[in-house]
Each structure stands twice: as structure tokens, then as C-alpha cells.
């Protein structure tokens, strides 16, 4: 097998404006686009619909050709051997999760309103997502509170997630990922949130991209920030 360190770069960055479907049927595409538009809605700022999250998810689910972008964003890595087998198995599972989840979402829409999910009003769509998730729509974050939680594993691998959880995670990914993957069109997710992301992945490899200006910009001396340091040096410390 090809060693992981020698995986070839194939293909090209995903065009966010494409309407070509690699995995979804036309109807599924419409449902996913409508659902993600309720997960990250459009207001005065763009949401999942404008950022082309549906393109991102369609490419991801289409197989294993869009899993890992090349480091410089020029295309995608072609996996091999057991790595490729593991990802194929994972994508088979995720394709099933989506196919069944989308059927259920449209069935719910039909039984509640006699229409397709994609044709519902925002309020109706939100109600269906509450039914699908089994929980009320999340409320606004409020300041002036202390809200403890218990330990959880950080990171968000998607293996084993149910349809709704996967859809929420993939929406965030498609909204905020590097644009090479087809989502976050024109970096609109980054601009919305105030993250000054790199113009291209390549810029993060060679020193072109820097966040130095987002560090503390005021004048300072370490001895002012750290009284101990002054005490140490006054006492003759020289290391």
C-alpha cells in the first residue's frame, strides 16, 4: 500500500457555486439546504444557505474523495490501504444515517402539514426540527449567570452521531471550514464571527499569515506584569 506520508494530491478545491449533486438527490438537496438554513439561519448576516453548506455536506458524503484537503489547499489527499477502508466504512454508515434521517424528516413534514420540509415556513420548519431532535429549540445565552457542566471529550468527530446531531455539526463545519471544502463561501462564516482567517491554507504554511496583531498591543514590561520577577532580580537572580 502507499504509505500515508506519500498520499497523492488529486482534484481541485470545491466550487461553492456548483449545483452538481454527487450524493444527494434533487429532493434531498433541497431538504438539506432548508434544514441547514434553520440551523444557522440568515439574518442581517449570511447563514448556511449563502455559505453553501449544502455543497460542503454533499461532497463530504459522496465518498472518500473530499475528506482531507491537501495541506496547501490545492486539492485533496487520496487515501490508501486500511485508512481508505476505514473511511469507506465510516462514509457508508453516514450515508445511511442521512438517507434515513431525510426520509424521516419529510415523513414528519407530511404528517404534520402535508408538505415537503423544504416548503415549510421558518416557524414550521423549526417545530419539525424540535420533533426530530426530541428537544426544544435552544434559547438565547444570557449573561449574569453561572452554568456548571460536567466533563466531556473535546473535539467533534462525527462517527456514531444520530442524524440531527450530525446535521448540526456538519452545518457548523460547512459554515466555518476552510473554503477549499466547498462551504464558508468567500469566508462569509469567518467574517460574520470576526475570525481573521487566512486567505489560503498555503498562507499558513510559509509565514505569510500571522495573528500577531491580535495579541495584546500595549507597551509592557514583564516585570510589571509579574511582581515576582522584579523581586527575583532585585534579590540578585540572574538566570
Amino acid at each position: 500500500m502507499t504509505l500515508k506520508s506519500e498520499w497523492e494530491i488529486v482534484g481541485a478545491p470545491v466550487d461553492p457555486d456548483t449545483t452538481e449533486r454527487l450524493f444527494f438527490t434533487d429532493a434531498e438537496w433541497d431538504t438539506v439546504e432548508a434544514a441547514t438554513a434553520r440551523i444557522m439561519p440568515t439574518d442581517q448576516d449570511p447563514g448556511a444557505r449563502e455559505a453553501r453548506v449544502v455543497v460542503f455536506i454533499d461532497r463530504y458524503l459522496s465518498g472518500i474523495d473530499y475528506v482531507y484537503a491537501a495541506a496547501d489547499g490545492s486539492g485533496f489527499l487520496k487515501m490508501s490501504g486500511k485508512y481508505a477502508d476505514a473511511w469507506r466504512a465510516r462514509m457508508d454508515e453516514m450515508q445511511n444515517v442521512y438517507r434515513h434521517g431525510l426520509v424521516r424528516l419529510d415523513e414528519l413534514a407530511h404528517s404534520e402539514s402535508g408538505r415537503r420540509f423544504a416548503d415549510l415556513s421558518d416557524a414550521e420548519a423549526d417545530h419539525l426540527l424540535e420533533l426530530l431532535s426530541g428537544a426544544p429549540k435552544p434559547g438565547q445565552v444570557t449573561l449574569g449567570t453561572k452554568e456548571p457542566v460536567t466533563t466531556f471529550l473535546q473535539g467533534s468527530f462525527d462517527e456514531g452521531l444520530d442524524f440531527f446531531s450530525a446535521l448540526c455539526l456538519h452545518t457548523r463545519q460547512g459554515f466555518y471550514c476552510d473554503p477549499v471544502y466547498g462551504g464558508n463561501k468567500e469566508q462569509m462564516g469567518w467574517k460574520f464571527i470576526g475570525f481573521p482567517g487566512p486567505k489560503s491554507l498555503k498562507d499558513t504554511m510559509d509565514g505569510t499569515y500571522s495573528t500577531a496583531e491580535y495579541f495584546y498591543q500595549g507597551e509592557f514590561e514583564w516585570e510589571d506584569l509579574i511582581p515576582q520577577l522584579k523581586a527575583y532580580r532585585d534579590a540578585g537572580g540572574t538566570l
Binding site: 477502508d85 449567570t145 499558513t204
Partner: protein
Amino acid sequence: MLNRKKPEPVDVIVVGLGANGGTAVKVLAEAGLKVVGFDRGPWLRPLEHYSGDELKFVNRDYMWPDPKMFPRTVRYDENAVAERFPFSPTPQMVGGGTNHWAGWVPRPRESDFMMRSLHGEIEGASLADWPFRYEHLEPYLTKVEWAFGVSGIAGADKYEPYRSKGYPSPPLRPTQYGKRFYDACNKMGINAFPIPHAMVTNKHNGRDPFNQTSFWNQYGDPSGARSNTLTSFIPEAVATGNLEVRAECFVQSVKLGHDGKATGVVYIDPDGNEVEQDARVVILTLGAIESARLMLMSKSPRFPDGLANGSGLVGKNATFHEYLFAVGLFDKDIDEPLNGFAGNYISGGSLEFYETDENRGHIGGSIISASQTCHPINWVFPGRPSWGEALKDADRNYYNYAMKIGLILHDLPVESNRVDLDPTVKDAFGRPVARITHSPHRNDIAMGKWQVDKNVEILEAAGARKTVPVYLDKMTGNTCHQHGTARMGTDPAKSVLNEWGQAHEVDNLFVLDGSGFPTATGVNPTLTMMANAWRCSEYIAQVYSKGREERLILSNTKR
């Protein structure tokens, strides 16, 4: 399966080329020994393979073992059925955890080496002293800091024990949230300082840093700024002509000869061939979970329960350092932005609350530090709404107005907290996977609560308008720190390794990772591990392989 020709025997085999294997191969190859280093993961090239791609590195496990190929299982008590869970998922590849780490490298404290002497018998815990003291490790802490490249300021840590030398380079300037942290700590009389960081900020050892991308914790580094063994110690060892790296080669077992010595290893090469490699010395540096697993998989008539496991202790007393933290949110309309994506993960920390104070109702303590809240897909806000207008508003209002203060929990060893072989789940090569059994000691819960509450107080002093404390209920392995599964000690009935990381029962087998730690310490362990790996490798090169035997004399001096 093809029958590949058996390679020539070598002096030393090192299994696992992470922080500790990387240190061992450098010391051994530079001493003139012929070494073969194995890693089951790839040998990537940072300049070609690493960049700031959040999806690839943080969400899709590009550097981590694929959980379908290499699963682990976890149960929280003896009677439960273990479930698949990516517990302590360290990158398994050349460079190991130093590929993804943030790079905190604080020194341990004198008390860390003598927990049993200081605290006696603690019910439900298995405290033990280390078989050596801080002063024995100090010269090697200095060697690693200078050879590896560490930034920091000598004298800034009020509680640091004796150090013989300063740092090769100064820290980066503080971040916005780091400045807030310093100001709050000064208000509260807490000694805050830049936690020593495995990165170079000046030209050092031929490395010319530039990385200020902030794609740091969990990302591979395409520059020479972050210190990792992939770009420093391992190439230095290769350059001697004495090290051969065999990447994507999965070691299945350690072979034992009739004389009770290890003779080498059996591994699967990238084409699927089973190959044997012989050597005079075998060193395991796979991390405390996988080193224990390999020992338990290496059964023989002499050791039916696993290699060097006559004591029955291999896998037991596992500790994992859960990372706990509190997040504070600020008000966009009033407060200055904090830019939580910026920095090299941590910016300002303290060991003010490290030593035992019985008034707190628990023993031990932890390092704390202010750190990045990271990048947009996965930014750290527990309770971040999952969808709808609330999600959008939360991201828009708080992404740049949040800060986090976290701690490395100094969890106590408990004999029944352990790693063994899962009876049913197998990896992609058909071998039983590591099963983790763990429930926190009540001291862990109490310490976690006290420390997280202290973090909340500091956040409030910094002006936070909402706080989200994360308390311990179970271990998730989120620090990737692993220790204790093959304790070092002087008594062969109560430990697996001696003070040189050498198995009591197999004298040419060494385990030079965190497996040997009798207790966890409350600081990030990698510097301590690397210093210990250096110390023990020097012993192997200068003493053991020359047929001499020298015991360390433990002096009991107190400074």
C-alpha cells in the same frame, strides 16, 4: 503472507517514536549504538503535510489513530461492559503527541516525587514515592529545555524549585486574554507568569521561528517554531547514521528468550508481512496505554499474564490528568475584545495553588493557565447552543469575547484504575484493544471542584459577565496524558520497573514513557517524561550496555 528476510540484529529497538522514543533514539544514537525505531503511524513531513486546516486536524483526525482501525474501550466500573470510546487519543506517528500538543512544559515540583512520604496512606488511593528525587532529574530537565528549545522567564515562577540554568528563548508577548489574566491575578495576589512553552522565539539550534498563525493546539506545525521530536531529536538521531526509522510498522509482541531476556520484537510491515527484528535491548515508549497493552499481549510460558508482569501490576494504577476549566463570557457592547483564537494556546499561568493545603479539604493541586478558546467550528463554549438563532447570536456575540482558564488535574493513583486487554473488541490487525477501567478517587472530584471554582473567581476578577465551570464526573482522557501502568520503584513486589525504567524481571527491557510514573504530578508531564527518558537512555548507553551495574544512591537532602 510473504516471508521477508529477517533483518540484521541491532543494539537497541525503540518502539514508539513520540516525545520519549524520540528522546531515547537521540541519546542512544549519539552515544554510538545501532538503533531501530518503530512507529505504527506515518513519518510525515511538516513542511509538506501541515497547515491551518481546522476540519482536517480537529474534526477528522488526520493525525490521530483512526478509531475504526485502532479503537479503545472504556468502562467506569468493574462490572460494566466497556464501550468503544476514543480515550486519550494521542497521535500515533513519528513525533507522537508532540505533533499536536500545545507545548506546556512546566517543571515538576519536589513534592511530586514524595507523595507517599508527605501524605501517608490515603484511603482508596495507592500513593507511592518515586525511586528518585527532583534533584536527580534537574540536570536532565535543563538538558531537554536547551536541546529541545523552550521559551520562558527564569525567576518568574515564585514556587519553582532549584534550576541550574535559564531558558534559551523568551516568551511571546501576552495575548489579550493573557493580559486580562495577569491583571486579575495581580489584583488577587496570585503569582502569574508565562508557563514555559515548547517553542523557540529566537533563532535556536538552527531553527528559525515564524509561526504566529495561532493554529497551534491540535494542529501540526509547518514551521520550526514549535518543539517536537519529529523535527528535532529524530532527525538529529538519523544524522548520526545510527538510527533507522521504520514507520507504519506495527509491533505485535516482544519476544522472550529461554534465558528470560527479551530477544527482539515481531512486527507487521506496511505490506502486511510479519517480520522479526532482534536486538540486545528493547525499549518501549508507546505511551502508558499502548506500552501496557503490548506488555500484556506479549505472553510466554515464563510470563503467562504478560511480559515482566510477575507482580500482576502491569496496567494498574493508571492516571490520566483530566483537563478541567471554566469559560467566561464578556459583553461585546462594553468590554474589549479578547480574540480567543490568538496565541500559542496558553498565555499566562500559575502554580499558586499547586501544593497541598489541607484547609481545602483535599491533597495535591494543579497548574492553571489562561488559554485559547480556539477556532470557529470547535470553539470552547460548553453550552454553546446547537442550532437556530441562539447559535448564531452566541457565535456572533461571544466568539471574540470569551476566555478560558484551565487546569491539569493531579489525579491520585488507584490500583483498580487500569488498562487491560478487551475480551471482545479487536483492532484492524485482529489484536485485542486496550480497555480502560477508571473511576475518579473522591480526592480528584474535590480537587477538581476547588480548582475550577478558583478559576471562576479569577474570571470574575477579570470582569467576566457569565461563567461556565466544567466539573469532574468521569475521566475522558482529554489531555492525552497517561501514566502509571508500569510503576517505577525499588520493591519488585510493588513495582514493575526500577529507577532506570528497567523491568525488574527482564533486565534488557526498559519502559521509558509515563508508564513508570508512580504518581501523576499536577503539571503537564512531557518535560518530566523526556528528562527521565534522557536520564535512563544515558544509563543504558553509558552503563548497562557496557556490562556495568550502578545503582543510584538516593540522597535525602532537602534544600
